[in-house]
Symmetry: C2
Subunit: 155 residues, 2 copies
DNA sequence: CCGATATACTTGAGATCGCAAGGAACTATA
DNA sequence: TATAGTTCCTTGCGATCTCAAGTATATCGG
């Protein structure tokens, strides 16, 4: 088989992601009516200053495209979990702000979701292994390889 | 922030997957006209006995649904990389078999793809770390948690 | 002040994938 | 053989996400 040295880890990475993400999404969906992506955005907003963010920044942290963020927020807005706010300094930006309902929904989801992550992921490891894993995964690229990086702080 | 101990690793896992999968897919697409999923199926077929597999088995190893496999193979069949073969023993199953074109296309893709995986993933680690990572990732669930596992070998 | 370029966001079209439902074939029981 | 249940595969529908293109605003050079 394709038992190349480095590829084994990558394949397991791919498979594990598919399996865990699917399961987490199903649970989140049935228990709280949220996608994994929805949840992901809600966390960002919850811990953001004033519980709001520019759409561009959401896109960057959650690793979605600008258009992806628009559609996703459409859903959250329809559900009343997030609302638009205009920015006085820059009329181009529209903040996505957590509503009271969004805050409540997130806090409810957070409890079960953390437990699910614990069960499906973290429980497989000792505290020490978790740190090792986090460190190793932290070395992986998180964004586009071409945009920045050539002259750090260029833009 | 959400600096819970076990969750950090999971978040990095999610982000890294999104970033790397996206980049690998783009390269595979532009250089060989293949999706990451397409490639994933082609590998399985390439190393399978007689270079063919039942659709169910493809679904299981690549972690797609049955319907997902049908659509994906539709594309590969249209491209002439894979062809249907009927099974004499069981008329329900349709084999997906690699064609000569498929073999050639895969071999071409394999070279650059392995290099890409090396660059974006494996290169971040020493040989020892790769093994550690592979071992750690190998503990994660690969499939549905409910089906088997209650009385191993039950079904 | 004015045009050129960049940035923030939205929208239309298309691809991928899952779920639910259905058809066809195999297996087991009687 | 007849009936029931399971397995393999396909299809209709909907959701998600990306790309390409378009609008609106901001900023910079002249």
């Amino acid at each position: 088989m394709a038992t190349e040295p480095g590829v084994t880890a990558w394949i397991r990475f791919l498979r594990a992601h598919a399996a865990i993400a699917r399961e987490l999404s199903v649970r989140l969906e049935t228990q709280h009516g949220l996608t994994l992506s929805d949840y992901d955005v809600l966390v960002q907003l919850y811990y953001a200053p004033e519980q709001r963010m520019r759409r561009v920044d959401i896109a960057r942290t959650v690793l979605l495209t600008a258009s992806g963020v628009t559609r996703l927020l459409e859903g959250l807005e329809r559900a009343g979990l997030v609302e638009k706010q205009s920015c006085p300094d820059d009329a181009r930006v529209t903040y996505a702000a957590l509503t009271d309902a969004g805050r409540a929904r997130f806090e409810a989801a957070q409890a079960t979701h953390l437990a699910d992550v614990e069960e499906l992921f973290a429980a497989k490891y000792t505290a020490e292994e978790r740190e090792t894993l986090a460190e190793l995964l932290g070395r992986l690229p998180l964004a586009d390889t071409s945009s920045a990086c050539t002259e750090e702080g260029a833009a």
